[in-house]
Subunit: 187 residues, 2 copies
Protein backbone atom coordinates (compact mmCIF):
# COMPACT_ATOMS: atom_id res chain seq x y z
CA UNK A 1 0.00 0.00 0.00
CA UNK A 2 1.36 3.37 -1.05
CA UNK A 3 0.43 6.43 0.99
CA UNK A 4 0.68 10.01 -0.26
CA UNK A 5 -0.21 13.20 1.61
CA UNK A 6 -1.64 16.17 -0.28
CA UNK A 7 -1.48 19.51 1.52
CA UNK A 8 -3.98 21.99 0.14
CA UNK A 9 -4.06 25.74 0.80
CA UNK A 10 -0.49 26.31 1.92
CA UNK A 11 0.53 29.95 2.26
CA UNK A 12 4.00 31.27 3.01
CA UNK A 13 3.01 32.13 6.59
CA UNK A 14 2.03 28.46 7.13
CA UNK A 15 5.66 27.51 6.66
CA UNK A 16 6.17 25.95 10.08
CA UNK A 17 2.87 24.03 10.23
CA UNK A 18 3.27 22.71 6.67
CA UNK A 19 6.81 21.64 7.53
CA UNK A 20 5.41 19.76 10.52
CA UNK A 21 2.89 18.08 8.19
CA UNK A 22 5.72 17.05 5.84
CA UNK A 23 7.96 15.67 8.61
CA UNK A 24 5.03 13.82 10.16
CA UNK A 25 4.06 12.33 6.80
CA UNK A 26 7.59 10.99 6.32
CA UNK A 27 8.16 9.76 9.89
CA UNK A 28 4.76 8.11 10.24
CA UNK A 29 4.70 6.14 7.01
CA UNK A 30 3.74 8.13 3.91
CA UNK A 31 6.08 7.82 0.95
CA UNK A 32 5.07 11.00 -0.87
CA UNK A 33 4.20 14.58 0.02
CA UNK A 34 2.45 16.99 -2.33
CA UNK A 35 1.80 20.69 -1.88
CA UNK A 36 -0.85 21.86 -4.32
CA UNK A 37 -1.02 25.09 -6.31
CA UNK A 38 2.04 26.75 -4.80
CA UNK A 39 5.77 26.19 -4.44
CA UNK A 40 7.74 26.80 -1.24
CA UNK A 41 11.50 26.68 -1.62
CA UNK A 42 12.19 26.69 2.12
CA UNK A 43 10.07 23.60 2.63
CA UNK A 44 11.71 21.97 -0.39
CA UNK A 45 15.13 22.56 1.18
CA UNK A 46 13.98 21.28 4.56
CA UNK A 47 12.74 18.02 3.01
CA UNK A 48 15.86 17.60 0.89
CA UNK A 49 18.08 18.06 3.95
CA UNK A 50 15.90 15.68 5.89
CA UNK A 51 16.22 12.94 3.27
CA UNK A 52 19.96 13.44 3.03
CA UNK A 53 20.57 13.30 6.77
CA UNK A 54 17.90 10.90 7.96
CA UNK A 55 17.60 8.57 4.97
CA UNK A 56 14.68 6.92 3.25
CA UNK A 57 13.13 7.78 -0.07
CA UNK A 58 10.47 10.30 0.81
CA UNK A 59 9.30 11.90 -2.40
CA UNK A 60 7.79 15.37 -2.77
CA UNK A 61 6.18 17.52 -5.42
CA UNK A 62 5.04 21.10 -5.24
CA UNK A 63 3.01 23.49 -7.33
CA UNK A 64 0.80 20.77 -8.78
CA UNK A 65 -2.95 21.18 -9.39
CA UNK A 66 -4.92 19.46 -6.64
CA UNK A 67 -7.71 18.45 -9.03
CA UNK A 68 -5.31 16.82 -11.47
CA UNK A 69 -3.39 15.08 -8.69
CA UNK A 70 -6.58 13.58 -7.26
CA UNK A 71 -7.98 12.62 -10.66
CA UNK A 72 -4.74 10.91 -11.59
CA UNK A 73 -4.61 9.08 -8.24
CA UNK A 74 -8.15 7.80 -8.61
CA UNK A 75 -7.67 6.85 -12.27
CA UNK A 76 -4.85 4.60 -11.11
CA UNK A 77 -7.17 2.90 -8.62
CA UNK A 78 -6.20 4.79 -5.47
CA UNK A 79 -8.64 6.23 -2.93
CA UNK A 80 -8.76 9.67 -1.29
CA UNK A 81 -9.21 10.15 2.45
CA UNK A 82 -9.95 13.70 3.56
CA UNK A 83 -9.11 14.40 7.20
CA UNK A 84 -11.70 16.77 8.67
CA UNK A 85 -13.43 17.20 12.01
CA UNK A 86 -16.76 17.00 10.14
CA UNK A 87 -16.15 13.46 8.91
CA UNK A 88 -16.93 10.03 10.33
CA UNK A 89 -15.41 9.62 13.76
CA UNK A 90 -12.46 7.22 13.66
CA UNK A 91 -13.23 5.98 17.16
CA UNK A 92 -17.04 5.76 17.03
CA UNK A 93 -17.51 4.30 13.55
CA UNK A 94 -16.15 1.52 11.34
CA UNK A 95 -14.62 3.97 8.86
CA UNK A 96 -11.04 2.82 9.42
CA UNK A 97 -12.00 -0.83 8.92
CA UNK A 98 -13.76 0.06 5.68
CA UNK A 99 -10.69 1.96 4.46
CA UNK A 100 -8.34 -0.89 5.41
CA UNK A 101 -10.53 -3.49 3.73
CA UNK A 102 -10.30 -1.62 0.42
CA UNK A 103 -6.60 -2.49 0.42
CA UNK A 104 -5.77 0.30 -2.04
CA UNK A 105 -3.24 3.10 -2.29
CA UNK A 106 -4.35 6.05 -0.17
CA UNK A 107 -4.03 9.76 -0.78
CA UNK A 108 -4.59 11.67 2.45
CA UNK A 109 -5.99 15.12 1.80
CA UNK A 110 -5.05 17.75 4.40
CA UNK A 111 -6.59 21.20 4.12
CA UNK A 112 -6.21 24.43 5.96
CA UNK A 113 -8.91 26.65 7.45
CA UNK A 114 -11.43 26.98 4.60
CA UNK A 115 -11.30 24.16 2.09
CA UNK A 116 -13.36 23.98 -1.13
CA UNK A 117 -16.82 22.48 -0.42
CA UNK A 118 -16.06 19.72 -2.94
CA UNK A 119 -13.55 18.25 -0.49
CA UNK A 120 -16.49 17.05 1.61
CA UNK A 121 -18.24 15.42 -1.36
CA UNK A 122 -17.76 12.20 -3.29
CA UNK A 123 -16.48 14.29 -6.19
CA UNK A 124 -13.15 14.56 -4.35
CA UNK A 125 -13.08 12.35 -1.25
CA UNK A 126 -13.97 8.68 -0.94
CA UNK A 127 -13.89 9.08 2.83
CA UNK A 128 -14.14 12.01 5.21
CA UNK A 129 -12.49 10.96 8.46
CA UNK A 130 -12.54 12.84 11.76
CA UNK A 131 -9.78 12.14 14.28
CA UNK A 132 -12.33 13.20 16.85
CA UNK A 133 -14.89 15.91 16.09
CA UNK A 134 -13.20 18.59 18.20
CA UNK A 135 -10.98 21.30 16.69
CA UNK A 136 -7.40 20.11 16.82
CA UNK A 137 -4.60 20.23 14.23
CA UNK A 138 -3.98 18.76 10.81
CA UNK A 139 -0.60 17.59 12.11
CA UNK A 140 -2.26 15.70 14.98
CA UNK A 141 -4.90 14.26 12.67
CA UNK A 142 -2.33 13.02 10.16
CA UNK A 143 -0.17 11.46 12.89
CA UNK A 144 -2.99 9.52 14.54
CA UNK A 145 -4.55 8.47 11.24
CA UNK A 146 -1.25 7.03 10.00
CA UNK A 147 -0.50 5.43 13.37
CA UNK A 148 -3.86 3.66 13.40
CA UNK A 149 -3.84 2.82 9.69
CA UNK A 150 -0.43 1.14 9.96
CA UNK A 151 -1.09 -0.33 13.42
CA UNK A 152 1.83 1.57 14.88
CA UNK A 153 4.42 -0.49 13.06
CA UNK A 154 5.99 2.47 11.27
CA UNK A 155 7.27 4.10 14.47
CA UNK A 156 9.69 1.29 15.16
CA UNK A 157 11.26 1.24 11.71
CA UNK A 158 14.61 2.66 10.68
CA UNK A 159 15.31 4.42 7.38
CA UNK A 160 17.81 3.30 4.74
CA UNK A 161 20.94 5.28 3.97
CA UNK A 162 20.70 7.54 7.01
CA UNK A 163 23.65 9.73 7.94
CA UNK A 164 22.14 10.43 11.34
CA UNK A 165 20.60 7.80 13.56
CA UNK A 166 19.20 8.13 17.06
CA UNK A 167 19.97 5.43 19.60
CA UNK A 168 16.86 5.39 21.82
CA UNK A 169 17.81 6.12 25.43
CA UNK A 170 16.13 6.29 28.81
CA UNK A 171 18.11 9.44 29.61
CA UNK A 172 20.39 11.71 27.63
CA UNK A 173 20.90 11.99 23.86
CA UNK A 174 22.67 9.37 21.78
CA UNK A 175 23.22 9.87 18.09
CA UNK A 176 25.34 8.09 15.50
CA UNK A 177 26.55 10.26 12.66
CA UNK A 178 27.78 8.30 9.69
CA UNK A 179 30.00 10.05 7.25
CA UNK A 180 30.84 8.36 3.96
CA UNK A 181 34.32 7.53 5.36
CA UNK A 182 32.90 5.74 8.35
CA UNK A 183 30.16 3.86 6.54
CA UNK A 184 30.14 0.11 7.04
CA UNK A 185 33.39 0.28 8.97
CA UNK A 186 32.83 1.64 12.42
CA UNK A 187 29.25 0.60 12.93
CA UNK B 1 -5.61 10.19 36.00
CA UNK B 2 -5.02 13.87 35.35
CA UNK B 3 -2.96 14.90 32.33
CA UNK B 4 -1.29 18.28 31.89
CA UNK B 5 0.82 19.50 28.97
CA UNK B 6 3.71 21.88 29.58
CA UNK B 7 5.00 23.73 26.51
CA UNK B 8 8.52 25.00 27.00
CA UNK B 9 10.35 27.54 24.83
CA UNK B 10 7.40 29.24 23.17
CA UNK B 11 8.25 32.37 21.21
CA UNK B 12 5.80 34.74 19.56
CA UNK B 13 6.66 33.41 16.11
CA UNK B 14 5.65 29.91 17.29
CA UNK B 15 2.10 31.14 17.70
CA UNK B 16 0.50 28.74 15.22
CA UNK B 17 2.39 25.62 16.28
CA UNK B 18 1.83 26.30 19.99
CA UNK B 19 -1.86 26.85 19.26
CA UNK B 20 -1.92 23.47 17.54
CA UNK B 21 -0.27 21.95 20.63
CA UNK B 22 -2.95 23.53 22.85
CA UNK B 23 -5.89 22.39 20.69
CA UNK B 24 -4.43 18.90 20.42
CA UNK B 25 -3.92 18.71 24.18
CA UNK B 26 -7.57 19.60 24.76
CA UNK B 27 -9.08 17.43 22.02
CA UNK B 28 -6.98 14.37 22.78
CA UNK B 29 -7.50 14.20 26.54
CA UNK B 30 -5.34 16.56 28.59
CA UNK B 31 -7.18 18.72 31.11
CA UNK B 32 -4.54 21.43 31.52
CA UNK B 33 -2.15 23.36 29.30
CA UNK B 34 0.81 25.35 30.58
CA UNK B 35 3.14 27.67 28.70
CA UNK B 36 6.28 28.30 30.70
CA UNK B 37 8.23 31.53 31.14
CA UNK B 38 6.21 33.64 28.73
CA UNK B 39 2.68 34.88 28.19
CA UNK B 40 0.90 34.96 24.84
CA UNK B 41 -2.38 36.86 24.79
CA UNK B 42 -3.42 35.62 21.36
CA UNK B 43 -3.15 32.02 22.45
CA UNK B 44 -5.00 32.84 25.66
CA UNK B 45 -7.87 34.29 23.61
CA UNK B 46 -7.88 31.31 21.25
CA UNK B 47 -8.21 28.88 24.16
CA UNK B 48 -10.88 30.99 25.88
CA UNK B 49 -12.93 31.11 22.67
CA UNK B 50 -12.42 27.40 22.21
CA UNK B 51 -13.73 26.59 25.68
CA UNK B 52 -16.69 28.90 25.25
CA UNK B 53 -17.72 27.50 21.87
CA UNK B 54 -16.72 23.88 22.13
CA UNK B 55 -17.25 23.20 25.83
CA UNK B 56 -15.31 21.24 28.41
CA UNK B 57 -13.17 22.55 31.22
CA UNK B 58 -9.75 22.81 29.68
CA UNK B 59 -7.57 24.81 32.02
CA UNK B 60 -4.55 26.90 31.04
CA UNK B 61 -1.79 28.88 32.72
CA UNK B 62 0.91 30.97 31.15
CA UNK B 63 4.08 32.69 32.25
CA UNK B 64 4.85 30.17 34.98
CA UNK B 65 8.36 28.93 35.79
CA UNK B 66 8.90 25.47 34.28
CA UNK B 67 11.11 24.37 37.16
CA UNK B 68 8.52 25.31 39.76
CA UNK B 69 5.69 23.74 37.78
CA UNK B 70 7.55 20.44 37.50
CA UNK B 71 8.69 20.48 41.14
CA UNK B 72 5.16 21.14 42.32
CA UNK B 73 3.77 18.39 40.06
CA UNK B 74 6.26 15.85 41.36
CA UNK B 75 5.82 16.90 44.97
CA UNK B 76 2.14 16.05 44.58
CA UNK B 77 3.03 12.57 43.33
CA UNK B 78 2.76 13.16 39.58
CA UNK B 79 5.26 11.98 36.98
CA UNK B 80 6.84 13.86 34.09
CA UNK B 81 7.01 12.42 30.56
CA UNK B 82 9.26 14.30 28.15
CA UNK B 83 8.44 13.70 24.48
CA UNK B 84 11.66 13.64 22.47
CA UNK B 85 12.98 11.70 19.48
CA UNK B 86 16.00 10.71 21.65
CA UNK B 87 13.89 8.83 24.17
CA UNK B 88 12.72 5.24 24.45
CA UNK B 89 10.81 4.21 21.35
CA UNK B 90 7.11 3.85 22.13
CA UNK B 91 6.76 1.03 19.60
CA UNK B 92 9.96 -0.93 20.25
CA UNK B 93 10.06 -0.79 24.05
CA UNK B 94 7.79 -1.32 27.04
CA UNK B 95 7.96 2.34 28.06
CA UNK B 96 4.23 2.98 27.62
CA UNK B 97 3.34 -0.07 29.72
CA UNK B 98 5.67 1.14 32.48
CA UNK B 99 4.08 4.60 32.40
CA UNK B 100 0.56 3.17 32.48
CA UNK B 101 1.39 0.83 35.34
CA UNK B 102 2.48 3.78 37.50
CA UNK B 103 -1.14 4.90 37.42
CA UNK B 104 -0.21 8.48 38.36
CA UNK B 105 -1.01 11.96 37.11
CA UNK B 106 1.13 12.77 34.09
CA UNK B 107 2.71 16.02 33.01
CA UNK B 108 3.75 15.84 29.37
CA UNK B 109 6.73 18.06 28.64
CA UNK B 110 6.90 19.43 25.10
CA UNK B 111 9.93 21.41 24.09
CA UNK B 112 10.95 23.32 21.04
CA UNK B 113 14.18 23.07 19.05
CA UNK B 114 16.87 23.28 21.75
CA UNK B 115 15.68 22.26 25.19
CA UNK B 116 17.76 22.49 28.39
CA UNK B 117 19.95 19.35 28.81
CA UNK B 118 18.25 18.69 32.15
CA UNK B 119 15.06 17.76 30.27
CA UNK B 120 16.78 14.51 29.24
CA UNK B 121 17.85 13.68 32.81
CA UNK B 122 16.10 12.28 35.85
CA UNK B 123 16.32 15.73 37.40
CA UNK B 124 13.37 16.77 35.27
CA UNK B 125 11.88 13.80 33.42
CA UNK B 126 10.82 10.44 34.78
CA UNK B 127 10.51 9.17 31.23
CA UNK B 128 11.88 10.27 27.87
CA UNK B 129 9.55 8.90 25.21
CA UNK B 130 10.12 8.90 21.45
CA UNK B 131 7.11 8.63 19.17
CA UNK B 132 9.52 7.12 16.71
CA UNK B 133 13.13 8.27 16.53
CA UNK B 134 12.74 10.24 13.30
CA UNK B 135 12.33 14.04 13.25
CA UNK B 136 8.63 14.83 13.23
CA UNK B 137 6.54 17.36 15.16
CA UNK B 138 5.69 18.01 18.79
CA UNK B 139 2.03 18.21 17.72
CA UNK B 140 2.22 14.75 16.15
CA UNK B 141 4.09 13.34 19.13
CA UNK B 142 1.55 14.70 21.61
CA UNK B 143 -1.39 13.39 19.58
CA UNK B 144 -0.09 9.85 19.24
CA UNK B 145 1.14 9.69 22.84
CA UNK B 146 -2.28 10.72 24.17
CA UNK B 147 -4.10 8.43 21.74
CA UNK B 148 -2.06 5.44 22.84
CA UNK B 149 -2.03 6.38 26.53
CA UNK B 150 -5.83 6.64 26.61
CA UNK B 151 -6.38 3.73 24.19
CA UNK B 152 -8.14 5.99 21.73
CA UNK B 153 -11.19 6.44 23.92
CA UNK B 154 -10.90 10.23 24.09
CA UNK B 155 -11.57 10.75 20.39
CA UNK B 156 -15.13 9.48 20.68
CA UNK B 157 -16.12 11.65 23.62
CA UNK B 158 -18.20 14.81 23.56
CA UNK B 159 -17.56 17.90 25.69
CA UNK B 160 -19.96 19.38 28.24
CA UNK B 161 -21.62 22.75 27.73
CA UNK B 162 -20.66 23.05 24.06
CA UNK B 163 -22.27 25.78 21.96
CA UNK B 164 -21.00 24.14 18.78
CA UNK B 165 -21.23 20.45 18.09
CA UNK B 166 -20.26 18.54 14.97
CA UNK B 167 -22.52 15.77 13.73
CA UNK B 168 -20.12 13.28 12.15
CA UNK B 169 -21.01 12.75 8.47
CA UNK B 170 -19.87 10.64 5.56
CA UNK B 171 -20.16 13.66 3.28
CA UNK B 172 -20.80 17.35 3.82
CA UNK B 173 -20.65 19.43 7.03
CA UNK B 174 -23.20 19.17 9.80
CA UNK B 175 -22.99 21.39 12.83
CA UNK B 176 -25.38 22.15 15.66
CA UNK B 177 -25.05 25.62 17.15
CA UNK B 178 -26.72 26.00 20.50
CA UNK B 179 -27.50 29.48 21.64
CA UNK B 180 -28.77 30.04 25.16
CA UNK B 181 -32.27 30.65 23.73
CA UNK B 182 -32.33 27.37 21.90
CA UNK B 183 -30.83 25.25 24.63
CA UNK B 184 -32.80 22.16 25.60
CA UNK B 185 -35.63 23.17 23.27
CA UNK B 186 -34.74 22.50 19.69
CA UNK B 187 -32.27 19.68 20.19
Amino acid sequence: MKIAVLRWGHRQRDYRVTTHVALTARAFGASQFLISDTEDKTIRETIENMNENWGGEFNFKMGISWRSAIEEWRNKGGIVVHLTIYGENIENSDVLDRIKSENKNIMILIGSKKVPPDFFSEKVSDYNVAIGNQPHSEVAALAVFLDRLLNGAQLGKSFDKARIQVIPSKYGKKVIENTSDLNDENF
